[in-house]
C-alpha cells in the first residue's frame, strides 16, 4: 500500500484550558473519501486547520502528502485544496476574475491559468455565468465556484468543511456527484459534515468526533457492528407465533439482537442479510409471514445511538 495521504499521531490542540483536539490518530489513504462527523465544536475544523498549517498543533505530528504543514506550509497548500465552511468571494468581481486571483496566488499565469479556470468552471457547470458578478450567485453556485477554485491547483487532497450546508437537495446531490468524480480521479477527499445520509452516500470511511477525540473510525458497516451490534436491520411482521419466538429467532446464525415491538412485529439486528433464515424460522415455527424487510444500518442510527449511549453513561 502506498504512503497514507494524511497521517497524524497524537495530534493535540489547546486553546488556553480548552482542548480542541486531543491525541488524534488518523490515517487516510490515496483516493479515499473520509468523512469527519461530530457535533459542533467537537474539533473537526481545528483538525482541518492543522492539516493545512493554518493553525499550529500544540503537540503531536502531522504528515500531509508526506510533508509537515507547520514547516512546509507552501508545499502543502500548493497540493491541498481547501474549501472552508463559509465560503466568501469578492462579490464585485466576476467568477472568472475571482478564480484568476487564486490562480495567480498559486503562481499560475497566462495560458495555463486561463485553461485551468475554464476547465474548472466547465467541470462544476458554471461556464455560462463565468463573467457574471459573484454577488448575483446563489448559495449553490457559490459552493460550486468554491469547488472550481479548489480544482484550479489540481490538488492531490481536497478538504471540504461542511460543503453541503445550506444547499437544497438538488444542489447537494450535484455536489456529491462532484465528490464522487474526484475520487474516480484518484484524489483523496476529506469531508466534514452534519448531513449524515450524504456522508454515508459518498464516504468510504468515517470518523466520529466527540470533544476533540475521534471516538469511532471505520466503514459504516463496521461502525454499525460496533455501535448497534449489527450492520443489518431486519423488520419482521408475522403472526401465529408463540411468545418464545423471539428466543427462537435469537438462535438463527448471524442474528445479534431481537427486539419485539409487539406480538407480531420484531426488529432484528444481524451481522448479515439473514432474511432467508428468518423466513425459514417463521415458517418452521408455524407462523404466517406478512412482511420481511432488510435495510443496512444508517449512519443516522449509529450517530443517534452512540450519542444517546454516551449520554446515558455520563448522566448515570
Amino acid at each position: 500500500m502506498s504512503d497514507p495521504v494524511i497521517e497524524t499521531h497524537g495530534l493535540t490542540k489547546r486553546y488556553g484550558d480548552t482542548v480542541a483536539v486531543d491525541g488524534l490518530e488518523l490515517s487516510v489513504g490515496q483516493a479515499e473519501v473520509f468523512g469527519l462527523l461530530g457535533p459542533n465544536g467537537s474539533g473537526k475544523t481545528t483538525t482541518i486547520l492543522m492539516l493545512l498549517g493554518l493553525t499550529e498543533p500544540t503537540a503531536g505530528s502531522v504528515r500531509v502528502l508526506g510533508l509537515d504543514p507547520a514547516r512546509q506550509p507552501l508545499s502543502v497548500k500548493a497540493r491541498v485544496g481547501y474549501m472552508p465552511d463559509e465560503v466568501g468571494f469578492y462579490d464585485d468581481l466576476s467568477a472568472r476574475l475571482n478564480l484568476a486571483y487564486i490562480a495567480r496566488l498559486n503562481g499560475l499565469s497566462g495560458q495555463t491559468a486561463q485553461s485551468r479556470i475554464s476547465e474548472a468552471l466547465e467541470r462544476v457547470g458554471l461556464s455560462s455565468v463565468s463573467d457574471h458578478r459573484v454577488g448575483t450567485f446563489s448559495r449553490g453556485m457559490r459552493q460550486r465556484l468554491a469547488v472550481a477554485e479548489v480544482l484550479i491547483k489540481q490538488p492531490r487532497l481536497i478538504i471540504l468543511d461542511e460543503p453541503t450546508q445550506g444547499l437544497d437537495p438538488e444542489g447537494a446531490r450535484e455536489f456529491l456527484d462532484i465528490v464522487r468524480s474526484l475520487k474516480e480521479q484518484g484524489i483523496t477527499v476529506l469531508l466534514s459534515s452534519h448531513l449524515l445520509p450524504q456522508v454515508q452516500a459518498v464516504c468510504d470511511r468515517v470518523g466520529l468526533f466527540r470533544r476533540g477525540r475521534m471516538v469511532l473510525c471505520g466503514t459504516v458497516p463496521e461502525l454499525a457492528r460496533r455501535v448497534l451490534g449489527g450492520a443489518y436491520r431486519i423488520d419482521l411482521l408475522a403472526d401465529g407465533l408463540g411468545d418464545d419466538f423471539a428466543a427462537t429467532l435469537g438462535q438463527v446464525p448471524g442474528v445479534v439482537a431481537v427486539t419485539p415491538q409487539d406480538a407480531t412485529h420484531y426488529t432484528v439486528s444481524a451481522a448479515d442479510d439473514v432474511r432467508a433464515d428468518v423466513a425459514r424460522a417463521v415458517v418452521e415455527a408455524g407462523g404466517r409471514l406478512w412482511r420481511l424487510d432488510s435495510e443496512t444500518a444508517s449512519l443516522d442510527d449509529i450517530y443517534v445511538h452512540y450519542f444517546q449511549e454516551v449520554g446515558h453513561v455520563e448522566s448515570a
Binding site: 504512503d3 497521517e7 475544523t45 481545528t46 486547520l49 493545512l52 493554518l54 493553525t55 504528515r63 508526506g66 510533508l67 509537515d68 514547516r71 512546509q72 506550509p73 507552501l74 508545499s75 497548500k77 500548493a78 491541498v80 485544496g81 481547501y82 474549501m83 472552508p84 463559509e86 465560503v87 466568501g88 468571494f89 469578492y90 462579490d91 464585485d92 486571483y101 487564486i102 495567480r104 496566488l105 498559486n106 503562481g107 468554491a146 477554485e149 491547483k153
Partner: protein, 327 residues
Amino acid sequence: MSNPPETVRFRTREGSPWTGLWAVVAKEMADHLTSTRMRILEVLIVLTAVGTVYAAMQSLQQTVAQDPFLLLKLFTTAREPLPAFVGMLGFLVPLIAIALAFDSINGEFNRRTMSRILAQPIYRDALLLGKFLAGLFTLALVMTAIWLLIIGLGIVGMGLPPSGEEVARSLWFLLVTVFYGGIWLALGMVFSIAFRQPATAALAAIAVWIFLTAFWSILAGLIAPTLAPIQMGLPQEYLAQAEMQLTLARLSPSTLYAESMLALMNPNTRALGLVLPSQLYGAVLGTPLPLSQSLLLIWPQLTGLIAATILLFALGYVLFQRQEIRA
C-alpha cells in the same frame, strides 16, 4: 514512510515570505482604482487642486515679483478664504490613506475570503505587505496625477517653464507626501487588524488623525510648561520651554509633514524651529538654499516619517500573525 530532509526540521520557514506578493498588489490596486470610494476621493482632491492652484495663480499674477521659484508658489500660496494646496494636503492625504486601509484586513474576514486566501500557497506576510504596497502605490498614482495637473496648470496659466530645481523640489514634495500617506495607511491597517468591524476601525483611525492633526499642537502648548517650567524667568528657561513644545509637536506626523513642506517648497527657509540671532551670524538672509541643503534640513523629519510608518507596519504585522484564522 518518507522522512523530510534534516534541514526542514528546524524552525525555519520554507520558501520566500513574499511568494504571491505581486499577485496581491495587483489585485488590491485594481480594487482600489475601480472602487467608488476612490473615485469620490479623486474628485475631491482634483477639485481641491484646481481650486487652490487657480486661487494661487490669481494672487500671484497681481503680486508678481522677481521670484525664481514661481512654480513652487503655486503649491504654497494661499488666498483667502482658501488655504494653500500643501496645507489642504495635510488634511486630504490622511483621509485618502485611511479610506484605503480601514477595511483591508477585517474586510477579508467579513467577506469570508480570508481562510480561502490563506489556504493558497502564500504566507500572511505577502498578504499584509501586498495590501500596504497596493495602498501606497494607489496613493502615489493619485498624487502623481495631481502633481502633473498642477505643473500643467502652471505652465498653461502662467506661461512659465519650470526650472530643473523647481521640478526636483516638487518631486521631493511628491515623495514626502506619499510617505506621509504611508503612516496613515499603516495606522488604518493596524486598526483594521485590531477591530473586526470596519466602521470601528475607520472611526478609530479618524479619531487618531483628528487628534494628531488638530489637537496635538494645542496640547503640546499646554504640556510644555509643566515639563519645562519657567521658574526664574531666565532666557534659557524660555528657550527650553519653546524647544520642549516643538519637540512634543513633532511627535505628530502632521507637524513633521508641515515642516518638510516648508523647507522643500520655500527654499528661503534656513531653519525649522528656533534660531538664535547668534546662529544667523554671517547668513545672507533672503537667499534661497540649494536643494541639497534643504534636504539636509528636513532629513530628521523625513526619517521620522518613514520610521513611524515602519513601526506601525511592524505592529500590524505582529497583530496579524497572532490572529486566529477561524472567524
